[in-house]
Symmetry: C2
Subunit: 152 residues, 2 copies
Amino acid sequence: MRWSQIDAIPCPLAQAMSVIGDSWTLLILRDAMRGARKFDEFQQSTRASRAVISARLAHLVERGVMERVQYEAHPPRYEYRLTNRGLALQPVMMTMAHWAETHLPKPVRSAGRRHTTCGHKFRPVVTCSECGETVTPETVTFDRPPALAGSK
Amino acid sequence: MRWSQIDAIPCPLAQAMSVIGDSWTLLILRDAMRGARKFDEFQQSTRASRAVISARLAHLVERGVMERVQYEAHPPRYEYRLTNRGLALQPVMMTMAHWAETHLPKPVRSAGRRHTTCGHKFRPVVTCSECGETVTPETVTFDRPPALAGSK
DNA sequence: TATGTAAGTTCGTTTTCTGAACTCAGTCTC
DNA sequence: GAGACTGAGTTCAGAAAACGAACTTACATA
């Protein structure tokens, strides 16, 4: 199977990967969450090739994660903004960055996240929507244990 | 810049992507969390080419996310197991799958996660380690606002 | 001897990525 | 009004990676 057909797999994770699973895409989204909007900002910050940036932004627009907005008529200029769908990826990226900070050896300056509601620096913690307790890999089971073999 | 040099970028997200950002890698990890261990299980479930599975597993072992263990001496057979570092990706993947379930249009059967501690079906919720409240994109700021332009 | 199995590797072809240059529409400076 | 500049891309040739199928290795079983 081709990677380009990944969206045919009926699994939430595969669906997610079909949208954000390309190289550079997550770094583009990282920059968008930091406030980047213009083509050249994405290109200079990620240092991916312009062709890749172009293809990735188009894909993200097509999948509703970003939108292309004309912000100037003469000359015509466009910028890219996160949609709600794109903004909703923030917890995913925060969790992923936190994994890297705590589980990868290379020392990287942590992001210094602050929760404005309480004012504290914080770690993102994944909890159970029902009891509020921290969810660990050991305390999760699946009701319909997902079939392992790819469906024929 | 090449994707293969992505690990040179001093950003937690880039570091994470250098480990788990390749096509198929996250699906391999998904299967590993469901209990897959053998080469052919990963290949049949993901349906990626054997060469890709081989390269990805080797990369994951190199980066300490999985380990290659001989489980039979005659004939010599090896399997792949998640390390603690790999297991720690579970919250990341759960959060990502939940994003797909709630924010992507295509209807996919949700995973049916159950929290064994409280016994309920649940959604993963990202909360603040300090006050316990749900963290939304709007309530997070960064202390050292990450520089936008790539450092020269 | 023949068949099967698990874990890969190899190979020729197709697809994608890369970096640099180029385009386009319009503005700004001399 | 000529030439340089800007932002948002596209184009192109060469390099790298992915693809599927076949092959290999090392044994076990019939």
